[in-house]
């Protein structure tokens, strides 16, 4: 086999094209890593949605709790009097069910200048009946303060929204006129879908954010979801199937909570496809650049190739040598690209998850450069190097010794 230092020396001697080609690869791969880190960060959220035994109950046909409404006069506990379900809700799991109202409110912000119009921003608000139970069901604890009580206008914030709004324990906050809330707690919710949520009393959310029917004569309170905790994922799946079949009494859509958030992550697939598409097109450009470099290297070393053939090296060894050189070049650039792309690991971002039906959820998450991202980028680099170097290596292999030396 042709010694590898023949190739490394060439890369060193022809350092300018080596540098430019490696920089090219570095940009393409770094961009790929950044885009995939964004997607992975969003995907990771669905895994932190809460204990894997949680089951989410929505109104039938609803795939987004924003568009779900379960009337509170419907006795949902009838659902889990079923003999298959009841044993799982005894002992420590008894009463581990949280009835919630989720809404997206529009908060009015004062105008930036005198005479300007006010601006608005969206706030994700969740009304809970028993905040401690809700926290336990969702696997959330408090980072600071306490859970909201039954008296007064108290709220608990996710860490992310607290940071966004610049609020701390004890601050007052006006979600809408004349509703003023006081922050009493901040959840340890980083990396979960609840990080951008404001938790308040169910009645206040229902009354003030349009989830209750206040029409005289038609008064009705609604929940958007009920989340029930079961011991494990297998029980959650079984529980969902059993309840889903009991459609004649109560019309509901029941699914494991993890599946609900995974479905919301499906919108990330669009980002992932877009990221790969962009990276592939840029890689095609990069590969042509590599081909240029390697073709130039081959044409400048035709005499070398002739000599190598005469001293006994075979065609396939010539091919392998130049392919290796191409791969080395790709690895140098790709390695630098992965290292630079890794710098975005942990950076906080705001994203959007949606399961269709026009709804969705704004989430705060951290970009994630994990093993999957690095392996994808590494494979990408090697494929670029292989495709970019093959034709020049093939051309080198086909050189006839005597013609090369003439």
């Amino acid at each position: 086999m042709i010694p590898i230092h023949y190739n490394t020396r060439n890369l060193f001697v022809r350092w300018r094209p080596t540098l430019l080609t490696a920089l090219c690869f570095m940009l393409v791969v770094a961009l790929l890593v950044v885009m995939l880190a964004f997607v992975q960060g969003l995907n990771e959220l669905s895994k932190k949605s809460g204990p894997e035994g949680n089951v989410m109950i929505l109104r039938d046909g609803a795939t987004d709790e924003l568009f779900s409404d379960l009337a509170d006069n419907v006795n949902l506990s009838k659902l889990w009097l079923h003999p298959e379900v009841l044993p799982h809700l005894q002992g420590p799991n008894e009463k581990m069910a949280s009835r919630e109202v989720y809404s997206i409110a529009t908060q009015e912000l004062p105008p930036k200048k005198e005479g300007d119009r006010p601006t608005y921003r969206f706030l994700q608000v969740r009304g809970v009946e028993d905040p401690e139970v809700a926290g336990a069901v969702h696997g959330l604890t408090l980072k600071a303060g306490r859970w909201l009580g039954r008296d007064g206008n108290e709220i608990v914030l996710g860490e992310g929204i607290a940071r966004t709004l610049g609020l701390e324990i004890g601050n007052e906050f006006e979600a809408r006129k004349p509703l003023s809330w006081r922050v009493v707690g901040i959840m340890d919710s980083k990396g979960s879908p609840f990080d951008s949520e404001i938790w308040a009393k169910r009645e206040e959310v229902g009354r003030n954010f349009g989830k209750d029917n206040n029409t005289p004569g038609q008064e009705q309170r609604f929940f958007t979801s009920v989340v029930v905790q079961t011991p494990n994922a297998a029980t959650a799946q079984k529980f969902s199937e059993v309840l889903q079949d009991r459609q004649k009494d109560i019309r509901v859509n029941v699914l494991p909570e993890r599946r609900y958030y995974e479905a919301m992550s499906e919108s990330n697939q669009m980002f992932q496809v877009a990221a790969l598409f962009i990276a592939i097109i840029m890689a095609i450009g990069g590969m042509f650049g590599l081909m240029n470099t390697m073709f130039a290297a081959v044409s400048q070393r035709i005499k070398d190739i002739g000599v190598l053939r005469i001293v006994g090296f075979r065609r396939w060894q010539i091919l392998a040598s130049f392919m290796l050189e191409s791969l080395l070049l790709a690895i140098i650039g790709g390695g630098l690209g992965i290292a630079i792309g890794y710098l975005v690991n942990g950076i906080e971002q705001v994203g959007f998850m949606s399961a269709g039906q026009g709804g969705g959820k704004t989430v705060v998450f951290n970009m994630l450069v994990n093993k999957q991202v690095i392996i994808t980028a590494a494979v990408f680099t090697l494929v670029m190097g292989l495709f970019g170097g093959f034709l020049p290596a093939f051309a080198a292999m086909r050189q006839r010794p005597l013609e090369a030396l003439r």
């Binding site: 529009t106 119009r117 608005y120 969206f122 990069g286 073709f295 994203g351 269709g356």
Partner: protein
């Protein structure tokens, strides 16, 4: 002219290198054009168009929450204080209004099959073609208005619907079909809250190329009557009211007047409302503008710089001979830059033409919840300009290196 001929000759000498470089530039111009089209498309939703401007009236504190229609009636009813004020100060024409109420239906009564779901927008039929962006008489037969009110086959008043071809394909329906559907979010006012059942006849189709191809329009009168009969909580309510004004300044003024008069309502221009919906995507858009686009330009510069760097180093002897023959350093610089610019320009133009033909031939770039974005004709100068810019940036260093060639050093090496 001689320099141009020399440039052409030099590029032909190593056709493979010229073709590979051009191919790389074409690929990168293609991706740049696609990205720029998407960014411009999204920006267009958040910018006011010239000419008449629409105002959306909605609930002030809740997103997508139906509000009572009487608020809109207060605005459009002649004789009401607000209407008269808008007419006097903002030249408001009450005919230039419409309303929207969104309904999700399913053909599956049990609502288990997501593929059987579709959106209908309940609105005023006679305002569909005049008050809906990007939907005009070229897209939908103007007779559809009458047919929506009096569908020919079913005979049920107001039950005609117009649907997008994309959704018709998905549901395996066609114009003339009659069917029952069940409203997912609109329920009877009974204890069991069963879904409300409605009958429809498809009386028209919206073309696949149109942004509304994924949903349909129904007569609000039919929905209103049904919700009332079924004692649904959304009876008499709408999601949005739309008003049209002559320009942005008037629309803003009208918005302030409406909000002052109706404190429960928000009245803002459509572009302002869309900007808020796009706010969660701000990071993505910033990443595209400030990371992705510069990276693409950077890769193009590197590729062109690499190619012409190799070319110049191979031709040092030739450059020395040119100098001996009387070529000035400036002419040699122009020669090398000329080669780079010619490759960049032609490849950029070819990339633009190919991408324009491919993307627009396929109907544009389709993103979920957005209309297809077609490439603007401005791409025909983006491509060449990008090619020239990157050729200059990448080719300048090799060109300077070429014009600084020292004849004595070159011939000493050769000797």
């Amino acid at each position: 002219m001689k320099i141009f001929l020399l440039v052409l000759k030099n590029l032909r000498r190593n056709k493979l290198r010229s073709v590979l470089t051009a191919a790389a530039v074409i690929a990168l111009v293609a991706i740049f054009s696609i990205i720029r089209t998407v960014v411009l498309g999204l920006d267009s939703f958040t910018e006011e168009k010239s000419g008449s401007v629409r105002v959306i009236v909605s609930d002030r504190y809740n997103i997508m929450m139906p509000f009572h229609r009487r608020y809109l009636d207060d605005i459009i009813r002649p004789g009401s204080t607000l209407h008269d004020q808008l007419k006097a100060e903002c030249e408001f024409d009450r005919e230039k209004h419409t309303l929207w109420h969104f309904v999700i239906f399913s053909l599956d009564k049990d609502m288990k099959d997501k593929d059987q779901q579709f959106f209908l927008l309940a609105t005023l039929p006679d305002k569909i073609l005049t008050m809906t962006d990007d939907l005009g008489a070229d897209d939908v037969d103007p007779r559809a208005v009458e047919l929506m009110r009096n569908p020919p086959r079913s005979g049920m008043p107001n039950s005609g619907i117009v649907m997008g071809e994309l959704i018709l394909t998905k549901l395996k329906k066609k114009v003339g079909d009659r069917f029952k559907a069940w409203a997912i979010g609109h329920r009877k006012g009974t204890a069991l809250r069963e879904p409300i059942e409605m009958d429809f006849e498809i009386i028209g189709a919206i073309p696949m190329s149109n942004r509304w191809n994924g949903m349909g329009f129904m007569d609000y009168a039919y929905l209103d009557k049904t919700l009332n009969a079924e004692k649904n909580e959304f009876d008499g309510r709408i999601h949005y009211g739309w008003l049209e004004f002559k320009d942005k300044a008037t629309a803003e003024k009208a918005g302030i007047m409406i909000e002052k008069h109706l404190p429960e309502m928000k009245a803002e221009t459509a572009s302002t409302a869309f900007s808020r919906f796009l706010a969660p995507l701000k990071n993505v858009l910033d990443g595209i503008k400030y990371l992705l686009v510069p990276a693409i330009v950077g890769v193009m510069i590197l590729i062109l710089g690499n190619t012409f760097g190799i070319t110049v180093r191979e031709r040092f002897t030739e450059m020395a001979v040119l100098k001996v023959l009387g070529f000035s350093s400036r002419r040699i610089l122009l020669l090398v830059l000329g080669e780079a610019i010619l490759v960049g320009t032609l490849a950029g133009l070819l990339g633009a033409v190919v991408t324009y033909g491919l993307i627009n031939g396929l109907g544009g770039i389709a993103l979920p919840n957005f209309p297809p974005m077609r490439m603007p004709s401005a791409i025909f100068w983006w491509g060449p300009v990008l090619g020239v810019f990157t050729a200059l940036a990448g080719g300048i260093a090799p060109a300077i290196s070429a014009c600084r060639v020292k004849v004595a050093n070159v011939f000493a090496t050769v000797a």
